[in-house]
Every structure is written in C-alpha cells, then in structure tokens.
C-alpha cells in the first residue's frame, strides 16, 4: 500500500468516528428535547389526578408483587415488611425463595408466622420444582403474603414460578431488596387502566439509588446524597438514563427495557410469550423485547408505558469490583437479547420497533463500547506514528467533555424542576461538580466492564450472574 492509500483509509476512519460521535450527540440532544416535552405533559396530566379512589376501590384490578429472593437473609424480613406496607387495596405479595442456602425461609416463617399450605400450581411456565413448598401466614395481618420455596433456578426461573402462582391480571416483578413507595402500585397501574385504544403490555418505573438514605419501618424517611463517589456518580447516571433517556423512548413508544428492579406486566401476555427466559442474564430486557415482538407479529396496537415518579429505591454497588460485575452482566444481557431477536433489526415489518428502537440500541448501546475502544486504540496508534493533529484532537476532546457535562446538568435540572428529591443545601453544587468528575470516575469503568462483558460473552460462557453483595438498605438507617 502506498502512502496515499493509507491516507485515504485514515481519512475514511476519521470520518466514521466523527460521524458516529456526531450521530450519538445529536441523538442525545433529540432525546432530551423529547423527554422534556414528555415530562411536562406527564406533570400536567397528573397535576389533578385523584389517586385516592383507585387506592381504596375494591373494583381496582388486583396485582401480584413477585419478588425473587436468593440468600437475602440479612434483610428479607424488613424488605417483605416494606412490600406489605403498600397502600393499594387489591394486591398480594409472592416471595419466591429461589433455593437460598441461608436461613431466609426460616426467618420468614418465624417473622410472619407462616405455615405450609396445599397449593395447586398451574404450571403454565416450566420451572424448577418446589423445595419446601408453599407457605401462608396464620396471622390475618399478613394474609397478602405467600412464600414459595423452590429449588434454585435463577432469577428468571423464580419470576416464572411467581407468574404461575399469581391469580391476578397484573404482576409487579421487583427485586426483593427494593424499597417500594406506598403509592407505587396505583401510579404504575394507571396506564393499564387509562389507555382505551391500545393494549398496555407493561409499565416501567424510575429506579432511584437508596444508599445513604434514611429508611425506617420499610419507609423512605430522608433522601441523602451518599459520600461514596462511585455511588454519587451512579445517581447522576441514573438521572440521565431514566429522566432523559427512557422518558423520551416512552414518548416514542420505543422502550426496549424495563428495569428488573420494578415493572408491572400484563400477566396474560407475559405467559403467552413464554415468561422470562432462563437462559439469559438480561431477562428484564429480553421479556420486553419478546412481548413487543409478539404484539407486532399479532398486529395488535400496544404500548410499553413509563412512569417517571421516584417510586422504587434500590441499593447501588459501592465498590468498583461489584459495579464492574453488574455492568458486565448488563452488557452480556444486552448482547444476548439483541442477538436472539436480530430478526427485528432494520425490519420494516416491525415498524418503529424494528427501524428505530432496535437499531438505536444496537448502534448506541451495544456497539458503543466497542467503537469507543477501537477509537482509543486507533488514537494510541496515531500517537505512536506521530500522525495526531493535536489541534483537532484537543478541541474535539474538550468539546465532547463539555457536552457530557452539560448533558448531566440538563438531567439535574430535569430532576430539580420535577421531583426535587435532593433538597438539602449544597447538594445541587455537589451534583454539578459530579457532572464534571463523572467522565473520569465512572465512565472508564463502565467502558471496561462493557468490554469485559463482550469478552466474557464470547470467550467465557461459564460466567452467569456474577457477584452482587448487599449491604442492606435498612443498615444505612441513621
């Protein structure tokens, strides 16, 4: 190859990287504008809604909260108490003890006065068999509670058991360690009951980070910004993702994922499509994609809704080791889901789902870490070859950095002007400061975890869920 050919190749690569970055930034701008509009509309629509009637009405639809638990002995009793303290009238709670090796079941039996009952399970979805059986409380105060002890089969398997057990029309699938606010169910069920011309198949909620928050008796008492920089950075990241990203995709009816931490599903559709996939680590995304795919193939009008209110609070990883393990799993889940449903991508038969949501997810979520890594390697090679045009490199690097800071600040504004959860003095400044630091303290690790996820997906098939250590929300009580 002569020098001119190399120059042409280099030029093409430059334009490709530039074009990708430009497209990514443009999409973020468009999404934040759409999310702004959607948030304003949402707040207007809900500024005069009376939730009290739905709350107390026996006519309101019944919901089953399904919470899988695996070795959650540390906080299981408190967490179940929190789930039982919801204000909605028609709901029950199914705790699926997924073959825990600790004393979770014993603790639940003791705390809630449980006894074994004969319960015939309609096994619409294949799951691992029961271990100790099905338990209900002798105490009428806990009549809403049911505990199912089964052999270990993973989170998806446990959720499928919950789907089999539930007798209600709607199921709320949540992580047992999540703190659900008392009004969460009536807010989340609203889209199912309100939209008359379209079938709502699922509703997702915002997940907020509860580390350092004060929680008492299963209730959120005080919201604090944690001291740990990693957790702080994740708060900012969640604000961006939930208040800017997902809100916009909700408007476009293009949501591909509802957080596994909290989502409500139409049980019939969830079962019809075969329930949760036990072979993926990204079961929360996979089921949504499959449900959407089913509805598209049936030619039915449908919607995946989204509620921006801060209704579900969870514990975020506070060490880089656990954080990387979590993000590694998310990456593998995304790869598995997109690969499994690749038929949808760029397929006009699936409408905007195939032509917009899937391609966006593929290009800007799935491929982003790979393109970024290739870009970094390419830059290093240019440095070595002394081919870097520094005035270009520095000016665009600085521009990209400023954009990321500004985008985070927009997310902070979105939070401040809507739900305003971080009220304490000085928190606003800390969040802005965090916007400037986050590209250095969080992003490199996200990138590393994503690359590790790709590597593990292709070369280390044995790895499944990875490590997730819980400190426990109640332990942060002060």
């Amino acid at each position: 190859m002569d020098t001119s050919t190399i120059q042409i190749i280099l030029k093409i690569l430059h334009y490709l990287f530039f074009g990708y970055a430009f497209a990514a930034i443009s999409s973020y701008i468009v999404l934040s504008i759409i999310s702004g509009k959607e948030t304003i509309d949402y707040l207007k629509r809900n500024s005069f809604v009376n939730y009290k009637d739905i709350l107390s009405s026996t006519m309101s639809p019944s919901i089953t909260i399904i919470a899988p638990a695996y070795n959650e002995s540390l906080n299981i009793v408190e967490n179940v108490r929190s789930l039982l303290s919801n204000h909605y009238v028609n709901y029950d709670v199914v705790i699926v003890n997924d073959g825990s090796k600790d004393d979770s079941l014993e603790k639940l039996i003791e705390a809630y006065d449980l006894e074994k009952v004969d319960y015939v399970i309609n096994e619409k979805l294949k799951t691992q068999p029961l271990r100790a059986g099905v338990f209900k409380s002798k105490n009428p105060a806990f009549e809403k509670l049911m505990v199912v002890d089964k052999q270990n089969g993973g989170k998806a398997d446990a959720l499928n058991m919950g789907l089999n057990i539930s007798k209600n029309k709607y199921v709320a699938c949540i992580d047992v360690d999540c703190l659900l606010l008392e009004d969460a169910l009536q807010k989340m069920i609203k889209p199912f009951l309100e939209i008359t011309d379209t079938k709502v198949i699922a509703t997702g909620g915002v997940i907020r980070i509860a580390n350092s928050c004060v929680i008492r008796g299963g209730k959120l008492i005080d919201v604090n910004l944690p001291k740990n920089l990693l957790v702080q950075s994740q708060i900012l990241e969640y604000l961006r993702a939930f208040l800017l990203g997902r809100m916009a995709w909700s408007r476009l009816n293009g949501l591909l994922v509802i957080s596994g931490a909290f989502g409500i599903f139409d049980k019939e559709i969830a079962i019809t499509v075969g329930g949760y996939d036990t072979k993926t680590v990204g079961e929360d995304m996979e089921i949504i994609v499959r449900m959407r795919r089913y509805m598209e193939e049936q030619g039915r009008k449908y919607r995946v809704s989204y509620i921006p209110d801060p209704l579900c609070w969870t514990e975020a990883p506070d060490t880089y080791k656990i954080f990387i393990s979590q993000r590694n799993r998310w990456t593998r889940g995304t790869i598995e889901t997109l690969k499994k449903h690749r038929k949808i991508g760029f397929n006009p038969k699936y409408g905007s789902f195939g032509l917009l949501s899937y391609p966006y997810w593929l290009i800007f979520e799935r491929l982003a870490p790979i393109i970024e890594t290739v870009g970094i390697l390419y830059f290093v090679i240019l440095v070595v070859l002394k081919e870097v045009k520094w005035e270009y490199a520095l000016s665009f690097l600085f521009l990209a950095y400023l954009f990321s800071v500004l985008f985070s600040i927009v997310a902070i504004y979105s939070e401040e002007l809507t739900f305003h959860q971080y009220k304490k003095k000085g928190t606003g400044f800390k969040l802005v400061l965090l916007s400037a630091l986050e590209p250095f303290v969080l992003h490199p690790f996200i990138l590393y975890a994503a690359i590790r996820g790709n590597f593990d997906y292709y070369f280390n098939k044995k790895i499944k869920w990875g490590q997730m250590e819980r400190r426990g929300l109640s332990s942060v009580e002060t």
């Binding site: 207007k44 006519m59 619409k124």
Partner: protein
Amino acid sequence: MIDFQMLIEYYGESPFLIKLAWITSLVLSVSIILLTVYLKFARTLLRKKEVDSLKFRAAYEALLIEYIYSGDEVSIISDNQKRIIDELKPQVLDRSKRKVIISVLYKLMNQVSGEVTDAVKILFKESGLINYALKKTQSKKWHVKAKGIGEFTRFKIESVQDEIKKHLTHPLREVRKEAHFYFVNLFHFEGLTFLDTIKTPLSEWDQIQMLEILQRFTNQEICDIKPWLKSSNDTVILFALKLAKVYNQYEVKDELMDLLSHKNKHIRIQVIEVLTHLYGIEAKDVLKANFTELSLEEQISFFGLLEKLVVPDDEPFVEKHLFHKDFEIQLLALKILKSINIDKYMGLSELPLHEKSPAMLKLTNTN
C-alpha cells in the same frame, strides 16, 4: 499572563472545523456556568417556596378554621366570617397564596358537613376564588381548564353546571373526565345522564373513580341502568355492568341475558361474572348449551359461575369436563365435583396414573 493576541491569531489561522469546535465549546462553557449559577438560584427559590408555602398554610389554616367555626344561626354568614372573607380577598390575588388557600380550604371541606360546607362555598364565591376557577375553565390550555373544573367539583359549586356541561364532550380525555366527575360528584346518579349520549370511551380508571364517588353518598337509590346496558358504547355497558354488580341490580337480569351474546368478548365475560354475583341461574342452561362455542376465558368464567350455582343435575356436565384441555377448568371441574358428589370425586384417585388429568395428578402430588 495569557497572550490574547496570540490566541486570536491562532484562532484566525485555524481551519473551519477547529473554529467551530472552539466556538461550540465556548457556548457550552458559558451555558454550563450560567446553568450552574441559575441552579443555585432555582434551588434556593424552590426551598423558599416550600418554606413560604408551609408558613402560609399554617396561617391560613388557623384563619379558615376560625371562619368555619364562627358561623351563627342568625344569618347565613356571621360578621366575623365577613371580616375573614374581606381579609382573604387581597390574598387570593397572589397565585401562590391562592393555591395554598384552595388546598387548605379543600382539606377543611372534607372534614366538615352540612351548613358548614355551605359556609365554605360562600367563602369560595365571596373571596373571588370562583372567578379564578371560572377563568381557568375558559383557558385555552387544557390542563388549566381541567384544573378549573376540578376546583368546582371539589367545592361543589352547582351554579356553573351550564359552563361545565360544554366540556362533557371535550376532545381531550382529561378535560372530559373532569367534567364527568363534576356531574357525578354534584348530582350523583342523576349526574350520569351524559352516559345516554357519550360516544367517547370511558376508561377503566374513570369508571372505577365514578363508582367510588357514587358509593360515598348516603342516598344509594340507583337510577335505571337498563338503557346503558343497551348502549352502543361498549365502555358504557361495562360501567353499567359494574353498577349492576355493586348495587345488586337483580331487575336487569333479562338485559344481562341478552348481553351473553354481545359481540365484545370482554363484555360477555363481565356479564358472566355479574350473573355469578347476582345468582343468575337462568344463564346456566344457555351457557351450557353453547359451551363449546365460548372462548376459553368465557368457559373459565362459566365454571366460576357453576362453582357458585351448581346443583346435582350439573354432575354429567362437570364430569364431561374433568379432562378439558385447560388446566384451570380441570381443576374447577374437580372442585365442583367434590362439592356435589364426594364419592365420585374420591373414586377418581383410584384411576391409574396415565388416565389422570394433569389437575388430578397435581392434586395427588400436593396432597
């Protein structure tokens, strides 16, 4: 010292893309600085608003409680009440104070009854709050309009019903819904006349809310729901079915029987459930005769009805469906058989394993 001259020269000599990048960076930097400064201001303002709101709330709560309890039996409103109204008049001019007054007033309205409620209504009218609510209903912004109607509903202002009536067919659901709630809240069952003509769908959410509103009233004498059961609007039928169930409307059984052949499956299922609730034994033979033509959901609902209204004569029918393709029906059939013929039910346990239905196997394993 920064050599600005050198920077300007560098900028002047730079290619277009670099110039563009630096200009954009400058714009972004300025935006970040301005937004950071404004964030401080906005957060301070939000905190101040919250503190003010609490302060106003405490002050108005005291004043409005005094208003409510200073009525006398001589006149509609006492001199002290007049004084308080005069005191409030200039306050309602301020938007944030008005908001707090309305909120406190509504809270108090919910805690009182009878004549005291009338006193609250007088305050709403005399203080000028009614004019602001009226202005809201005439706003071009739909959410303001809906809020205005909501205020009239909350304070039960009947005099504006003609104005609200205009919004019963508003193209936006939120406005329409508030108008519906206004009439149901103020005129109870009589307020439901809009159901006679409504063409737009009533969401499940709206139906539940209207039922809750209706159930709050002491006078539970329900109007004739038959016309709504024959409505061309499916959601009106569904609402009427809910009314039939909640208010035990045995007299509409004929209409319910007719609805068993309605084209909408969801309605048919609901009818079976209402008939189950109303002990609609007449439905049993009709559904039995058409059982194979029913959808699976209808069949399950019918077995629900049978579970409640079964008689020994139904045994052959139940027995026939012990091996139905659906597990739930198998289970219900077993349960029903157990209730009418325990010997036959016990006899099923003698069946060889390969002849048992999945439900029988499950029951055997569970027990």
